[in-house]
Symmetry: C2
Subunit: 503 residues, 2 copies
């Protein structure tokens, strides 16, 4: 077929440009000199514009028309060919991008770089007003983009679709509604407990040099392929794909709390293993990407929470850890350590929250986003609305905006509709783990022995290799035998925390 | 004028793309995971191709034709306007690039990335045959490029013009012929000396941690602006410009020889100060670049050799240095140290050579390049020809190719015609320093006190700010009052080494 050579080359160029932008973005977050931010924004905007032109190249339109492609949902699931999958995803990308003018695309790219820089400054200064004017501009541009692309029922559909393709607000709310109640019940039961779990030993000095070695050690346990990947430091941890053989993660060390960098690193490593596991036949194509942020997050959460915050792992590895920090852990038994790293409490910072209340942080952001896009509140109202929501949901209030509305980078990047995918990730991860446990005998024993080969292989075979070949919902059904079902996550939480808290 | 808005935007996009490529290149040399090399080459080739399209955009041709621009040498020197300078350099760039097909440009870019990777591998393995097949391909492409662009007398003119714009082989040979004889005379006189300068204390363990601090300290003496610049590590030290406010240098630490990283760092810092000193009104334009590699090298050499290998600096700073490494220097007086870091000897490695015999290393490479492009020798003959030239000129032979033909990165990057600019840099630097010394009273005293403000300011005013506004020869005349004259460099060498060796 003519389109194969021609469009696959065009598709390849789009991906090469996206990866080039990822390099510029990675550098901006890790090593770039401070004053270079202005020109970096210009560089990224230019590349974004060039990329846009290639995504909406008329040859795509011609091909789609000549093949009668009109609706991404009309492709088959069973018997889907490689060509069909490529066309489906290229069509999706084309539709979204063609709706936008190049000016709007470049304006968003430029504004994103600036907003992000102002966010970092504002967070440092604990001063929301430094950030708000740039956020306001970015919010307006993102809203314009969503309106231009269009949606069936709610503007939030258009936002969500960027991060959890093919999912609607209605579907998302149904899933959330199913587990919100049981989640809050469990949370309140735990909060009502009289005795707290001792955890002071986690908040002691932990030499950063040793933390760095520890992070490297845990990445080696995962056989993290350093010839195709890197670990660096940045303000906010992230994973980014710079090429099919170049996936980079970052972490952030806290001198008096080692779990932040440790669990942050295995979290990002989970993302990286996903990207590194995509079948090389998809290299430099639209398929070579995580299928959705929710599924992506399932990979990071599965490692971070289910495996590395699990009992089996620490029964195996705690003796080693306590040798690395003998001072800190000399009077701490493994069961005490295990409970401490899983201690549930109302908290202010999302990325430091326990895996249970974490979902309440997400629900707060999700509700704020819906109100923002419904026009019920404005960007300048966010700190107040944020603080009120924390008061209502978790019973606590930030003492300044850097531990409140300024804590997350996402909105400064224009990423509205992104947060819900974190909770989706939790839901997916429990369902996937449930199935994996049925398929791999002695799974918990492997974890205790830090033998992760079979798990990585199972995930590669059932999730990673496919990239965007299947839609997320089809992939989940194929991998686990059923549609997304929140009961697996609630079962997991009830069992784990029931045991820890003796409920 | 119409061209102003339209073409300046186009010019800006070209520079933004060039800087984006510089980011990818910098990352490749510093942090990129090993296996990413293949896709990095593809990314760079794509950006190179996009950049090519913008350089030869038909709007340039239209503008040049409508303004009757036909010859870069017909622009005035006195009274040159900003617009004229921009047009002259854009026309130069256009002419060179328009002669080339996009396929050739992309083929060179791709081959360069691959050859560079193979060079690094070959150097490590001390095995030229790993590198030769890729060098052969690259050489053929560079030759094709030179033939396509064309030249007046010698194919070497086309090569040289990429690095020392507006200079011909004839002019270059005249300059080299003028100082080759006196240079060799001085070198042989020194080699004939009976007694050698003691220098064992330079070849001792120097803790890399302390070297890092020392490098930072000397950069602080130069007021190196870390908010607009960086220092990193790479196999081969280099300077690269990623943006008007983002200039990065690298160094390479040797655990048993501190001068390598120290003088390497101040060398690269000299390059960086040039780029950082270009007037911001030229930001993101074709003018915002060093005028020629020779003049660029004059800036690095002036700092590295004349200032930091000079007597005044060490009379001031040696007490501090000997406090940092008390073991190494406890029995060494400043005059002994000064002589040791300036010791002349026949040597194999160009970047470790003294500033006198350094020029013999350059002449060897220059002669080999001429023979290669004249077809007298082939890439496979290079090791033998190299070794013979070293035997003839310096009386010594490499014991393996990594200290011979594989030592330099340049040819692996397709940079033929580049080496002579290093010696041009030495010649320019002495002439510039001669004039600067007339203009700044107590210059040597300032150096002894590590007060470099006046020097940086003088260089900024007379050299840096202009970028490519003037041609190199016009800039030199303006800054120093006369054309390039090798006598200043020979006077400098005769005086410095005459004193050191008591000639």
């Amino acid at each position: 077929m003519k389109w194969r050579d021609d469009l696959r080359q065009l598709d390849k160029e789009i991906v090469l440009l996206a990866h080039s932008m990822a390099i510029l973005g990675w550098d901006q977050e890790t090593y770039m000199p401070r004053k270079a931010i202005g020109e970096r924004a210009e560089q990224l905007a230019l590349l974004q514009g060039i990329c846009h032109d290639k995504i909406v190249d008329p040859r795509w339109q011609d091909a789609f028309e000549s093949m009668g492609i009109e609706d991404v949902n009309r492709f088959p699931v069973e018997g889907l060919s490689d060509d069909q999958a490529l066309l489906r995803e290229a069509f999706r990308r084309y539709q979204k991008e063609a709706a936008l003018s190049k000016d709007l695309v470049m304006a968003i790219s430029r504004q994103t770089s600036l907003s992000q820089a102002k966010w970092a400054e504002a967070k440092k200064a604990r001063n929301y007003s430094i950030f708000e004017p740039e956020l306001k501009k970015l919010f307006a541009l993102v809203k314009e983009k969503a309106e231009t692309i269009g949606y069936q029922e709610n503007i939030y559909d258009a936002l969500l679709d960027d991060y959890e393709p093919y999912m609607t607000l209605k579907e998302l709310e149904k899933v959330f509604d199913d587990f919100k109640g049981p989640l809050k019940d469990l949370f309140f039961k735990i909060c009502d407990q009289k005795s707290d779990i001792p955890h002071d030993f986690l908040h002691l000095p932990f030499s950063v040099e040793k933390q760095k070695k520890l992070n490297k050690e845990v990445l080696n346990q995962l056989k993290f392929p350093f010839e195709r990947a890197r670990l660096d430091e940045s303000e906010h941890p992230f994973t980014t794909t710079l090429g099919m053989d170049d996936v980079r993660i970052t972490t952030h060390f806290h001198e008096e709390y080692f779990p932040a960098a440790f669990f942050g690193t295995v979290h990002e490593a989970g993302h990286a293993l996903y990207e590194l596991g995509i079948d090389s036949r998809w290299a430099e194509s639209v398929i070579a990407d995580g299928v959705s942020l929710g599924v992506h997050e399932s990979q990071s959460r599965l490692w971070e929470n289910i495996v590395f915050r699990g009992k089996s792992y620490w029964q195996g590895y705690y003796p080693e850890l306590s040798k690395i920090y003998p001072e800190n852990f000399k009077d701490v038994r493994v069961d005490q350590f295990y409970k401490a790293i899983n201690r549930v409490e109302p908290s202010l910072i999302r990325i430091e929250a326990d895996e249970l209340s974490y979902n309440l942080h997400i629900i707060i952001r999700f509700e704020l986003e819906k109100r923002l896009f419904a026009g019920d509140i404005d960007t300048k109202d966010l700190p107040e609305a944020w603080n009120k929501a924390y008061k209502d949901s978790l019973g606590i209030m930030p003492s300044h905006n850097s531990e409140g509305v300024l804590q997350d980078i996402h909105w400064s990047m224009g990423a509205f509709g992104y947060f819900p995918t974190y909770s989706l990730g939790n839901l997916y991860s429990a369902q996937i783990y449930h199935k994996m446990k049925q398929d791999i005998s002695d799974l918990e024993q492997d974890i205790a022995n830090r033998k992760f080969d079979k798990m990585v292989q199972w995930l590669g075979q059932n999730i990673h290799q496919y990239g965007k070949f299947y839609r997320a919902k089809d992939l989940m059904k194929k991998a686990t035998g059923e549609d997304l079902n929140p009961k697996y996550f609630m079962n997991y939480l009830n069992q784990k925390f029931g045991e820890i808290y003796g409920l």
